[in-house]
Each structure stands twice: as structure tokens, then as C-alpha cells.
């Protein structure tokens, strides 16, 4: 079963807000000067911000903010966020891999940006909605 796709828009303002809320002030997430100096195309989103947005999709699919029992991802490609009002978009889809008898649902998740996968091995286990 495929779950409804979700799209998250990400702008520079979102990265600044996430930096403050998370305490991760690595300048590659807000300074083009420093991001390009270390070989990136420009400012990139925090991997943990992408993971948090995907986590939102997971809890919304599960129908409960406290339903996640296991959640893991591999970061494969940076999400480059241009300095304009549009920013970029992350598309998230998932399929149900398994529903266990003890009430757990396992999801295989795909997250892309500009058609390229930004995560791999993205999986979540949630308590099955009653």
C-alpha cells in the first residue's frame, strides 16, 4: 500500500528557524560563503531538518504524534536551498512494507529533492492506528 505523497517547501528562513530551535549553528546551513568554501554548491538544509520533515509525514500518516517506535535514515545527497522566496521542495512518499500481528506497521520511505533521492534506507516503524 502506498501512502499519500507529501511535499514540504524549504526556504532559508526555515533553516534559520531550525538552527535556532535545534542549536545546530553550523554555517554551511546559513552562509553561502562558507558552504561554497567547503565544496558545497551553496547553503544546504540540515540533514536533521530533512529527517524532521519526513518524521512529520510519518506521524501524520500514523495519525498520532507519539506512534513512532523506530525511525532511521541514511543521508545520501544534500538538499540545496537557494536564497530566494521559493526555496526548494522535498517530496516524501512511503509504502507499507509490513503490518505485524503485534500492532506495528513498517514503512519504507522515499524522500526526493529535484527528482534526486536525498535519503536512502529510510524506514519507520509505527504503532498501527486502531
Amino acid at each position: 500500500m502506498e501512502l499519500p505523497a507529501r511535499t514540504f517547501r524549504v526556504t532559508r528562513a526555515d533553516l534559520v528557524r531550525y538552527a535556532g530551535a535545534s542549536g545546530d549553528f553550523n554555517p554551511i546551513h546559513w552562509s553561502d560563503r562558507i558552504a561554497t568554501k567547503v565544496g558545497l554548491p551553496g547553503v544546504i538544509a540540515h540533514g536533521m531538518f530533512t529527517m524532521a520533515l519526513v518524521g512529520r509525514a510519518v506521524t501524520e500518516w500514523a495519525g498520532a504524534p507519539d506512534a513512532v517506535v523506530d525511525y532511521g535514515v541514511r543521508f545520501t545527497r544534500p538538499v540545496v536551498v537557494p536564497d530566494d522566496d521559493q526555496g526548494t521542495e522535498i517530496e516524501v512518499t512511503a509504502v507499507v512494507r509490513e503490518v505485524t500481528e503485534d500492532g506495528l506497521t513498517r514503512l519504507d520511505i522515499t524522500a526526493t529533492c529535484g527528482g534526486e533521492k536525498v535519503l536512502s534506507q529510510a524506514r519507520a516503524t509505527v504503532r498501527t492506528a486502531r
Binding site: 530551535a21 545546530d24 540533514g47 525511525y71
Partner: protein, 148 residues
């Protein structure tokens, strides 16, 4: 400089307790656009059986940052932080983090490998309450990119 493989299995002392504040959870939830009332309204969280507002699933990473920093900055381990990228991240929850929690992190280096000139460092951080109740286990794999 490559990572010292003799660090595998090393466990670091518990961190000072992290006090999870209600406003911090609200701020974090707002920053990721999580609007579920259980992240913001204690009554909504109580209706789900929690004592106070519930943190989103990736919030525990914030709690582990100080512990991870301590490992990464250990000069003997040999991590060049300017070359670090985040490889993998995983959370296994006993229960969600809620406002009012006092959380302690104990980190262990689970694995160190070198492949293709890059170093890979896997840490496991067990987050418990100050009283020792398990809350969530957090794995991070950091990649230390080799010199080109």
C-alpha cells in the same frame, strides 16, 4: 589523520541532565511545522496519556548534541570536525520525550571503520531519565571525509 580504531567500545560518562522545557518542544515543533496539538497543548498531550507536551520524533537529537560534541572534540580520537558529514541517523523509542523530562545521555562508540579514504564513526547514545528509566536509543554515523 585517521580515526583511532582502539576507541571502539569506549563508553563516555553520563552527561549533565538536560531539562526538557515545554517552550523548547513548542519551538522545535514550530520550526519543523508540526502543528499537532499534542506538541503544543498540555491538555491535548494528557488526552493521549502523556504528562505534558510530546516532542517530535527527531527532537532527541538535540538532547544528544552535547554528548556527541564531546566525542567529536576528543583530540585523541582524531576527528577533523570541518570534514564531518552526517551519514546515518536512527532512533529507537521506549516512549516519546515529553516536557518535564530530565534526560541523561550515555554514549558509546559502536564502530569505527575506514573505507575509500573516509572514516566512519558510529555512536550509540542511550537517553534515560535521571532516575534511569530508558527513553530512547540514538545512533549516529558520522563520515569524516578524507583529504582529496
Amino acid at each position: 589523520m585517521s580515526l583511532d580504531p582502539s576507541y571502539v567500545g569506549r563508553t563516555y560518562p553520563p552527561t549533565a541532565p538536560y531539562q526538557v522545557g515545554r517552550e523548547k518542544i513548542r519551538e522545535f515543533a514550530t520550526a519543523i511545522g508540526a502543528t499537532d496539538p499534542a506538541h503544543h497543548d498540555p491538555e491535548a498531550a494528557r488526552a493521549l496519556g502523556h504528562p505534558d507536551v510530546v516532542a517530535p520524533p527527531t527532537f532527541p537529537f538535540v538532547v544528544t548534541m552535547a554528548a556527541t560534541q564531546k566525542i567529536v572534540e576528543d583530540p585523541a580520537l582524531g576527528v577533523d570536525y570541518s570534514r564531518v558529514v552526517h551519514g546515518d541517523q536512527r532512533f529507537a523509542y521506549t516512549r516519546p520525550v515529553v516536557a518535564g523530562d530530565e534526560l541523561v545521555c550515555v554514549s558509546t562508540i559502536e564502530d569505527i571503520t575506514t573505507r575509500g579514504g573516509h572514516g566512519f564513526l558510529t555512536t550509540r547514545t542511550d537517553i534515560t531519565t535521571a532516575a534511569g528509566e530508558p527513553v530512547v536509543a540514538v545512533w549516529s554515523k558520522l563520515v569524516v571525509r578524507g583529504e582529496a
